[in-house]
Symmetry: C2
């Protein structure tokens, strides 16, 4: 594949770009465009909203690029991928190759650095290749090609003039002479003209005269591995004392880390750890008045001890926090903090920067409300205030502060209630200095807004997973996420529960339902999370029909007995081990659903084709927590390269049980009193 | 719907636009963007390749625009379509309305002028509407809204300051006073605040503070009706003498027009009418040497009498041509000319502008070839020569010359062998002065190149229709053209035959096959065409396996007996009458296929929902020209609003026969010795 050596071509305008079309004579006649493109380059992929946003990839992925490239007539074309790595000053190139069946050009590059990559596509006419192909056809037809040989010599002369180095220049000049002047008959010279050595030289040295570039530069954002594959655990540090009457400290939380690590989690996510407001503090079960000793909601941020960069005094000091972070790191985990841009009535910003809030006609500041509901313990920020620059930078500096304390992941609270423009700016601003930072968007809102937040830069997103409980709902939603456009930019993080969401399925299904949802979350998505208490199947709602917990940890300190018999710890350990051992469970867009004849049993496949270590898993999950279900599942034999009638052994990674299956249709029975599902690997 | 009165807003940069993101402090910190957008506007439709090209519409069509529009939080938004008509200096606006189910904003404008339209979308926060909705909720909840009323008064004050005219200004000021100062209790004032008169005033006068525009201006090219609906007839004027030994003239051709008009055609298309080259002229049946008197191929353009703006002397003079055009116009038809940019060895340009051609090393000019084939009677132009400006302008001037002689339609020969950039420029250049001009692209090449020519400006395109003969092929191809992206920009013109294409289906199927293809072409596509001789079912190929005609008219003069008993004139008259009477056959994207239980019978529906004149046709066509076929067809009862078991009458517009049908499944039998198909209209 020919790649011209000029490494920084000046892209030509495209057919539709205005500068290609503005020459006029004095009488108003429009002259032909000055530098029109010779070649059409269209539908370059991957591209998100025509290059407005970056697609997302993970360090070590290969970026596979494809494009439609064509021009008029019958000339042979050549093309290349041109890309710039995150901190590279210059463009680099990789060949694109034509695939006749799809009529597409394809190529790729290994993404070996995190950060922002840029790429585009160049194409040009392969003059020498075209000439050579025509020469061959004429020779085959027995035509006299003397003139064609002289034309070829002209091409070689052009390449010769371009070469600076002596040997190559001499070599090319000799080829030109041989094509032009050799005393041999033309058919002898023709044989020389077709010499592959000449083709190689010319491919390397003949500069394109019609180099055309795609009219967009496209972007890829490359994250570290944890952005795609991680198990999250959410815990309130104040509940880690083991005694509901004593406010936990970071020292308590540090002691709790060992168990979390043993369960196999990668990320420990803490709700806000900042001073909790006192004024209008919420009492237990979200009541309007707090009793003495009630700790309040940690999302009511700010008190006498400070705001978003301070630590709630009852938790300890910043040094305690640093020790907590270091302990997590030693256990192979990282700490994620909550980034909730709102203030309690006692936040220092209300005094220092009242102009950052909404003022009312009576001079008071405006608390949060969603009429007729009022949230008097929370004041929203006015992101469009006159002092916007300083407010936005102060919000950014909160992130920088915690990054300097070892926090590399932020769970962002309700980003859909702050301007998109703010998120776009602040994420870019942080990523420019710290490309390793991960942002998880907690936006439970309409699909287009959730997607927009992912487009503008959020690394991961909360999803509707919690509310998708039937086979049909799960399949439709997962296909949308993993097979359609969101796969390029939205990374779902499947939380099985959160402090705000206790789904009716868990309330009604009890422990077996928790096991089902755990297995689904951890095998359908490489990113999943649990909020502490899940492992004890805590499932009592505030009231019937509510998704809020009774005695919600948002408003009180909890003490839990992790050794309780109903604990799901064994399930969690087992699942996280299987996830770490099986590459197929670490990827997002490798999911397919297959037929199960009973719609209470969901049957799906995750596969990884990594060179040397193919990994193929078949999951069957009984969605009915109350009853045993059986079904015939339809194994995709072709995809697994299994014969239509050959027996094969599948091993359940959950239990170690082995089954001999044969052909496509195979029997599965799942009893919720035993196991919620199978995670089957084909043994060959 | 609120439409701010400012008619020329300066669009704000969008999130992804670079100018929104380039402020830095002296220490390199990036400041927040200066004018970031407040609102996301995405997926504006219709849009072709993200606005690179114009979508196509017809005069009188409504342009239906839709968009995704959203922002953070809970504010109510407003939006408008902003558009500029072809010769308008200013933007105009039309409201966009939100549809909750699709989560899309939609609106439209009637396209009442041909030429280039531009449009985009604006959105803003409806501050007063948001305030009013929240006020209502608070009142309903019995909350004190005194402060809210003051906030509303501030909004009214803002609107007041903006109004220049006395009465409105006074009225608004009074509203503000009433909200602020009235002695009445707040709940009295609240009732006033919700007054619809105030809402109307505020909607009209409160200027948006966050007007955001879509980041592209999109284009629509609007053609006259003939661009979408027309029956074409191709004839060689030199064959119109009625005597194969006498070269026909324009006077002969003029006499032939009456019959063509009676057949119901709208466009008479003539192969090149210019002087035919003598040097290397092709003989009959494409032989290498012409016998004395052989007329040669009219596509070998140019001789002693001139080039592309001259008339072949044997046809007559330019005055004769003008008379021919006038006669066609009197009969309600227009004349289409062939635009074939190539030269015979005798074309004046070879002497006057040898630099417009490809030179060989021996100084000779290069004839056309597609190795190993040689076309020594044709010289291609070098569109990238040094004198490109003058060559391109000369090519443009050919079009202007014929336009000045009443030609408003050009059938462009092999556009895929000339640069895309040339077509883009020349079509734009002609359309800027003459938006009524129609260009038909004759590019039989790979799909992406055909589509690209349509995108860059060709009005209509030849298609693969000739080679689609089975039910499955026809359905797949028509669905691609009428239901997928090409529907926005590629208008297929279904030629049932051409001088180059006599398909095996016609060769083998004889007259019944011709009747089938005629019916398919004229009912599947609002644009269709016949090349003369079709009506006599001429179907003898040059040799077995060839799609060329024996005694091809391309190389000799033909005389035909139109009164021959095998004539299809009756079929043609009948079809063209039905097409003119039925709006459903005049539209392109209104086609759906429905089930037929025998795949030799194709069953499809064309529908038009024009207000006051709904038009619904069901076509059943027997694709087997040799045998009678029968089938059960499945009528789409829901779409036709017919009951599941109600009898209904269908009338065949071809024969006048009436059938009583009932329910979805109905019987059809078609015998090729009688009729090739049914064109059924439901009589209610």
């Amino acid at each position: 594949m020919a790649v011209p050596s000029s490494s920084s071509p000046s892209p030509r305008p495209t057919l539709s770009s205005p500068q290609a079309r503005t020459r006029r004579t004095s009488n108003g006649t429009q002259l032909p465009p000055r530098k029109p493109p010779h070649i059409a380059i269209e539908c370059v992929s991957p591209s998100l909203d025509d290059g407005r946003w970056a697609v997302k990839r993970i360090l070590g992925d290969s970026l596979e690029v494809s494009a439609d490239i064509f021009k008029d007539g019958h000339d042979i074309l050549a093309a290349r991928l041109r890309y710039k790595a995150p901190s590279a000053a210059d463009w680099q190139t990789a060949p694109l190759v034509f695939d006749y069946d799809s009529d597409r050009w394809t190529g790729g590059v290994a993404l070996d650095a995190i950060g922002s990559w840029t790429f585009t596509v160049d194409a040009w006419t392969d003059r020498f290749g075209t000439w050579r192909a025509q020469l061959e056809k004429k020779i085959d037809a027995g035509q006299d090609v003397s003139l064609e040989l002289l034309e070829g010599a002209e091409l070689v002369d052009t390449a010769t003039h371009r070469v600076r180095f002596g040997d190559t220049r001499r070599e090319l000049a000799q080829w030109a002479s041989r094509l032009k002047y050799a005393s041999a008959a033309w058919h002898e010279r023709a044989r020389e003209a077709l010499d592959l050595k000449l083709l190689a030289l010319m491919t390397q040295h003949l500069a394109p005269d019609d180099l055309t570039s795609y009219d967009r530069e496209l972007r890829v954002w490359v994250d570290r591995e944890r952005a795609r594959f991680a198990a999250w655990y959410e815990m309130f540090p104040r509940s880690q004392s083991g005694d509901a009457s004593r406010h936990g400290t970071f020292a308590d939380a540090e002691r709790a880390l060992a168990r979390v690590a043993e369960l196999g989690f990668d990320v420990v996510y803490l709700p806000p750890i900042h001073p909790v407001g006192v004024t209008n503090r919420k009492g237990r079960d979200n009541t309007l008045t707090a009793a003495p000793g009630d700790p309040g909601s940690p999302w009511a941020i700010g008190g006498p001890a400070g705001g978003h960069t301070a630590i709630e005094p009852q938790l300890g000091t910043i040094d305690d926090f640093d020790r907590f972070v270091a302990a997590a790191h030693r256990l192979g985990m990282e700490v994620a903090l909550d980034y909730a841009l709102q203030c309690s009535p006692d936040h220092p910003w209300l005094r220092e920067h009242p102009d950052w809030f909404f003022a009312r006609p009576d001079g008071s500041l405006k608390y949060a409300e969603n009429p007729p509901k009022k949230y008097e313990d929370i004041y929203p920020l006015d992101f469009w205030c006159a002092d916007r620059d300083n407010l936005w930078m102060a919000c950014r500096d909160i992130l920088l502060f915690w990054i300097s304390h070892g926090v590399h992941t932020f769970r962002v609270d309700n980003p859909h209630t702050k301007p998109f423009a703010f998120w776009h700016w602040v994420i870019d601003e942080i990523h420019a200095r710290h490309p390793e930072i991960i942002f998880l968007s907690e936006a439970f809102t309409r699909p287009k807004r959730m997607k927009h937040l992912a487009k503008l830069g959020f690394t991961q997103s909360y999803t509707y997973f919690t509310w998708r409980t039937t086979a049909r709902e799960l399949q439709e939603y997962l296909e949308e996420l993993t097979q359609r456009p969101p796969r390029e930019y939205l990374r779902p993080n499947f939380f099985a529960n959160t402090p705000d969401i206790l789904h009716a399925y868990l309330q009604q299904g009890g422990r077996p339902a928790f096991r089902v949802r755990l297995l689904l979350a951890g095998t359908l998505s490489p990113l999943f999370g649990l909020y502490s208490g899940f492992e004890l199947a805590e499932n009592v709602p505030l009231k019937p029909g509510s998704e809020e917990y009774v005695h919600s940890e948002k408003y009180e300190i909890k003490a839990r007995d992790w050794r309780a018999p109903e604990s799901l710890d064994r399930d969690i350990v087992r699942l996280n081990r299987i996830r770490r051992d099986n590459r197929a469970l670490q990827l997002a867009d490798n999911l397919t659903f297959h037929r199960s004849e009973n719609d209470r049993i969901l049957f799906y496949r995750k596969t990884s084709a990594d060179v040397g270590a193919p990994n193929d898993l078949l999951m069957a999950v009984n969605l009915d927590p109350a009853r045993a279900q059986d079904t015939m599942v339809h194994v995709p034999l072709d995809a697994l390269r299994l014969g239509a009638d050959t027996p094969f052994v599948v091993e359940d990674l959950l239990t170690g049980a082995r089954y001999t299956w044969r052909g496509s249709r195979n029997y599965v029975r799942l009893d919720p009193r035993e196991e919620p599902g199978h995670v089957l690997i084909v043994r060959r």
